[in-house]
């Protein structure tokens, strides 16, 4: 039996990812884990932006909702609530009793459910309200950007409930296990990796299903689809809801890896960065979203530690380059028949010709 090369490459990548804790050091593993958590969110952007044609500049909001939902539990675990114990930052802010909405988060299962349900449900409800009015395109992007701004402002202003500008940090245990050790980091990495793989295959299936075809049909011609007797609204809302839930999962995992969630991670600029990862990687190809996220974030890590002031320019340049020369992203170079692949082949054959001369 013969396997096409892409399956072999895929198997090697999955094996490398699975054995990464044995190959790379703890610092690199923590970076890789964080970026893989972000790539779950990026796959959601691929679904909404690439496949549904809905550009959201507010994915940070859903990322933050997931991150905060878990962080609230992490702040409460180990505290004796009956005794009147409170998270440290509340004590510093002079809060006298734990706010009522914090109480349920003492239950880890409630928190974990919220990681998925709150951002997913909020994204679905929000997009339903907007798309029902047939608002789309750039207007939708602007509304989501405003949402990101409002959300980060709200988090900063409600210091006594949210930890304000510093966010929530200084976690110790989850389900009674210490999450600050190297061993815990490896376990968290493995959970992240498994979720990335599961998300990848689940979305792959979804995109080949009739739903995936209908979603692309809606992107291509919403009116045509409507006048073929379909209601385009639920297809878009489901896609946006799934992307919101994936952003929430990514946010929770990122919080576990980095030990902090703060407004700086959920505002306008991070939300735009998220779109850039997917633009660079390729918004119509699922693995492109993962590759773009890893590539841009590792580049950011390297560049911003060497030249801290340079990174934002680098990010801007990267975005311009991707949009003008690689509309299908890096992944587009590998897709047979795509414009990028044709250009690439032309360049390669020209070089061969010129070396022959």
């Amino acid at each position: 039996m013969k396997f096409p090369p892409k399956y072999i490459v895929g198997a090697i990548v999955i094996a490398l990812g699975a054995f990464a804790p044995l190959i790379i050091n703890a610092y690199e593993l923590s970076l890789l884990g964080r970026f893989l958590a972000l790539s779950i969110l990026a796959m959601g952007i691929m679904l909404t932006w690439g496949e549904a044609g809905i550009l959201s500049l507010g994915q940070g909001v859903f990322f933050g909702l997931g991150g905060y939902a878990l962080a609230m539990h992490l702040k409460l675990e180990g505290l004796n609530l009956a005794n009147g114990d409170m998270p440290d930052f509340m004590v510093w802010s002079g809060v006298s009793t734990l706010p009522a909405f914090w109480y349920p988060f003492a239950n880890p299962y409630f928190s974990l459910a919220c990681v998925v349900i709150v951002p997913g449900g909020f994204a679905a409800a929000f997009s339903w309200l907007v798309f029902r009015r047939r608002v789309g395109g750039v207007y939708f992007a602007l509304i989501t950007q405003a949402l990101a701004l409002a959300f980060s402002t709200l988090l900063i202003s409600q210091q006594s409930y949210t930890g304000g500008f510093n966010g929530l940090t200084d976690f110790s245990t989850l389900f009674g296990y210490d999450i600050t050790t190297n061993g815990a980091a490896q376990v968290i990495y493995c959970i992240t990796f498994v979720l990335v793989v599961v998300t990848y295959f689940a979305l792959r299936w979804l995109l080949t299903s009739r739903y995936g075809v209908m979603l692309r049909a809606t992107r291509d011609g919403e009116n045509r689809v409507r006048f073929l007797g379909h209601n385009p609204l639920p297809y878009k809302v489901v896609a946006f809801g799934i992307a919101g839930a994936l952003a929430g999962i990514g946010g929770a995992l990122f919080t576990l890896h980095s030990g902090v969630v703060s407004p700086a991670l959920v505002g306008v600029v991070p939300s735009i960065e998220m779109v850039v990862w997917v633009a660079v990687g390729g918004r119509n190809i699922l693995w492109g979203a993962i590759a773009g996220t890893l590539l841009v974030n590792f580049a950011k890590d390297q560049i911003s530690s060497a030249f801290p002031s340079l990174w934002l320019y680098g990010l801007g340049a990267l975005f311009i380059l991707a949009v003008s020369f690689l509309p299908a992203g890096i992944a587009g170079l590998f897709r047979p028949g795509s414009g990028e692949e044709r250009v690439m082949r032309r360049i390669l054959s020209r070089r061969k010709l010129s070396t022959a001369e």
Binding site: W205, R210, V213, M214, D220, L228, G229, H230, P234, Y235
Partner: protein, 257 residues
């Protein structure tokens, strides 16, 4: 058998007023099931608005539209389609990144509930129906090509195929031959004639050779009002029609000369 079958679509006194501009004024139109109707008229006569009004894209200011004995004037667009009216748009409205077959399958879906789409299986009868239409529009060899890569005429045929695939009882074809050469135009006429009987068809066009090839009952629209109805020969012979419509191009020629 009745001599005159009950009309499938009735427009009664339909007026469309765009902020003071009357796109349609008291239009009365009755279409027979399985029959052909050709709608002609100079630019801006309100032909496309008439189509838009039937499918719910534009809502009439007054008057009512009845389809199969049901008033559809206020139904949501997709509900009007589900009752059995489907429209081809003036500029080809194919779904460019989907393959030709996918375009037809999206159109041929019988159960249009979104929650029924979480499956990779296509019902066999829908596939068979789509294949049949693929053969009818003559694009079998283009089956797995994305619609964006089709030639202009092929896109027009594909969209006609999509409209037919919905199995609607009334098809509205807005300028199906726009941008086509004479050969493709004749082919399109044959295609449309082959749809009659099963579907009632309302064709909008102003290519007279195409109208003659179809040779159906003609309604002439002028400044939002129905000017004349009759056979192609009658319309050709009508002095008033010639003056406002057929004669217009002559006037333009004179003006330009």
């Amino acid at each position: 058998m009745n001599a005159i079958p009950a009309p499938i679509l009735m427009m009664e006194d339909v007026t469309v007023d765009f902020d003071g501009f009357k796109a349609l004024t008291s239009v009365n139109l009755a279409l027979t099931p399985g029959d052909l109707r050709i709608l002609i008229g100079p630019n801006g006569a309100g032909k496309s608005t008439l189509c838009d009004t039937i499918i719910g894209r534009v809502r009439p200011t007054s008057g009512k539209i009845t389809f199969k004995d049901e008033v559809i004037t206020a139904l949501p667009e997709q509900e009007i389609v589900r009752r059995g009216i489907c429209r081809k748009f003036q500029t080809p409205g194919v779904l460019p990144t989907l393959t030709v077959m996918e375009n037809l399958l999206v159109s041929a879906r019988k159960n249009r509930s979104w929650w029924r789409s979480f499956t990779t299986k296509t019902p066999a009868d829908e596939t068979a129906h789509a294949e049949e239409i693929l053969a009818k529009i003559g694009l079998q060899d283009r089956r797995d090509i994305i619609a964006a890569d089709l030639a202009h005429g092929e896109k027009q045929w594909l969209e006609i195929g999509m409209v037919v695939a919905t199995d609607a009882d009334l098809l509205l074809l807005d300028e199906p031959t726009a941008g086509m050469g004479p050969q493709d135009t004749q082919r399109t006429a044959q295609l449309i004639l082959s749809l009659l009987g099963r579907h009632a068809v309302l064709v909008i066009d102003h290519d007279m050779s195409f109208v003659e090839a179809l040779n159906g009952y003609v309604t002439v629209l002028h400044q939002g009002q129905i000017l004349k109805e009759g056979t192609v020969a009658e319309i050709r012979a009508d002095a008033q029609v010639t003056a406002v419509y057929l004669g217009r191009s002559d006037d333009d020629d004179i003006a330009e000369a």
